[in-house]
Amino acid sequence: MSVFGQFLRFVTGSVRIVTRGNALYWTWILSLLVMIAIGATAYVHQMQTGLISTSMRDQVSWAFYIGNFTFLVGVAAAAVLLVIPAYVYHWKPIKEVVILGELLAIAAIVMCALFVLVDVGHPDRLQHLMPGIGTLNLPTSLLAWDVVVLNGYLVLNFTIVTYLLFMLVRGKHPNYAIFTPLVLLSIPWAIGIHTVTAFLYNGLAARPFWNSAILAPRFIASALCSGPAVLVVLMQLLRRFTRFEIQDAAIWKVAELMAYAMFLNLFLLGAEVFKEYYSGTEHLIHMQYMFAGVGEHDAIVPFMWTAVACSFISFLLFLVPQTRKNPITLNLGCGLIWLGVYLEKGMGLVIPGMTPDTLGEIYEYQPSRTEWLVAMGIFAVGFLLFTLMVKVATPIMLGEFRVAGDEHAHAPAKPATA
């Protein structure tokens, strides 16, 4: 069979896999589709009325959408936490789930792109970003850099995963001369996407809350918490619902790494808090708005203390071996980390950075109904994409889905990298 023929069978086989499933699977898929439909309706409404249907205004001109974008860049970048130990230190148990990390990265980048898309006033002009037709303002615009690195990261991860799965599905080993350099490239690239996204804020001297040199390290540290939290939960789900064997040791190792990452995250936050409160310059007001409120403006304060509490409790849960190894406290910790980082990035970064505005005015922002619904729709798109990709990848990794003839029946049952 030609490679093209095999690829066609790979594609048709994949379609067959995603269209078969039990009641639970279809309930999940249909709920996601309903959420996507609701989100799309809200977005159409936003397109018709303009961004006035969000709560953003001139004073707070970036908010919930861009916060979600930032959070998801972190999730996408966090694939590295699994790739680094797996490929650099040859830790066997972790290698199996690297592919899942990369699938997660793909889904997260797609969500990132959608959050930028819904935030811009003229999505019909995005061709102005395309080299050749438009004018991508390099090297000075950080958003232009972000467009480049995020698209590159998407292509890179998509290539790695498709190549690996297509080789496995034919019962072949990947060509390591091609595969290893690509995987190694994805490590600095992952750090790169989150660094560039941090620089997008960091470079703006007009916003002292963001204009701090530890912003990029803080981004990386929090990403190394939130990304693996998803994967730890996913690994347990796969273990329960498929024949996929994932050792406890792999999960515990990831959880331990998350504890270190969370320590770093909290330490950097503490450094930031110290600097602002001790020096007490006029720049302190943003942090005051975040943690104490300014005058009667304190809508964000409960969220921020929740975030700090979540981060701190999950740090303790993952630090202590007994709670790290207990499935209940482990999953509780994952939930708290996710919530903590989501609040910190989704609301705690963007909104206090813009409140008060550059001329001292306080406009108290809270997401509008449209923003919640559109965001829900985008998350549903990401979860749907991720579900479908995992549904196809799992039987391939387990050796249950092959397109070649019987001569490869005894092909490796696990990813050749395992």
Binding site: D58, W62, D119, G121, L129, I133, L136, Y201, A206, R207
Partner: protein
Amino acid sequence: MNAPDTTRRDFLCTLAGCAAALAGACGDVTHTEFFRSHFKELTPEDLDGILKKIERECETKYGKDVDVKNTPAREGVQFAYALDISRCVGCRRCVYACVAENNQSRDPVVQWIRVLEMDKEKGIDFEHANPYYDAETVPRPGHTYLPVACQHCENPPCVKTCPVGATWKEPDGIVVIDYDWCIGCRCCMSACPYGARRFNWKEPSLPADEMNPNLHVLGNRPRPKGVVEKCTWCVHRVRDGRYPACVEVCPVGARKFGNLLDPSSEIRYVLDKKRVFVLKNELATHPRFYYFYGL
């Protein structure tokens, strides 16, 4: 434009044809608009077509004869602005004259100038400034007034940050925006330390009888929703040798404007005879907008 470039553009145009069709289906974007070049690369014919199209659209929408100009920067002209804080009484006439002159939206209210009322004892203190004071009762004792609009910086952070180059500094120092190129990402608004930029959160409303028909393509022509706008020092007036509307209307003569390269200009006089300062000096944006205490 040279030949290989044209070929490359044509090729990419073909590739993006589907996207164009899709975008065209969503809004009334024509093929020409979709593949338009950046403003600075437009041929004279293309630019002329664009000006004519804006004129046609305005005439249909507002029912009056309009003139859309593209007066370019003149050689030997470097504009600058100075404002005498000790004279300003905070009457906001500049704000309203600007709105009328530059066709800003009435609903939602878009104003390019923000006047801040400040405690005299605190000096220039944005944290305690009040932009919503009652202009009927000014000047209130113990207060000073600080009007702020685009500072037309020498080193504009907004221009640096725009991902598509939709905003730039003209040779005469005016920072402009191409409303047909702006994608509405609002990076420039995050980057501006002076809160000078406004976004059209919904379709701007402008009563036909109040519409100013003397238009500049990079200035006061009516804007669509979803793009950023700001003060252009009345580019449609100043390049014809007139004062910006705010300078003309100011009842106390607090506003001075002119050509830095003209030794007899008012702005030159202020810079030579008065002690001036700029806002947020520490950010090194180097505003072309100076403040001074004339009295």
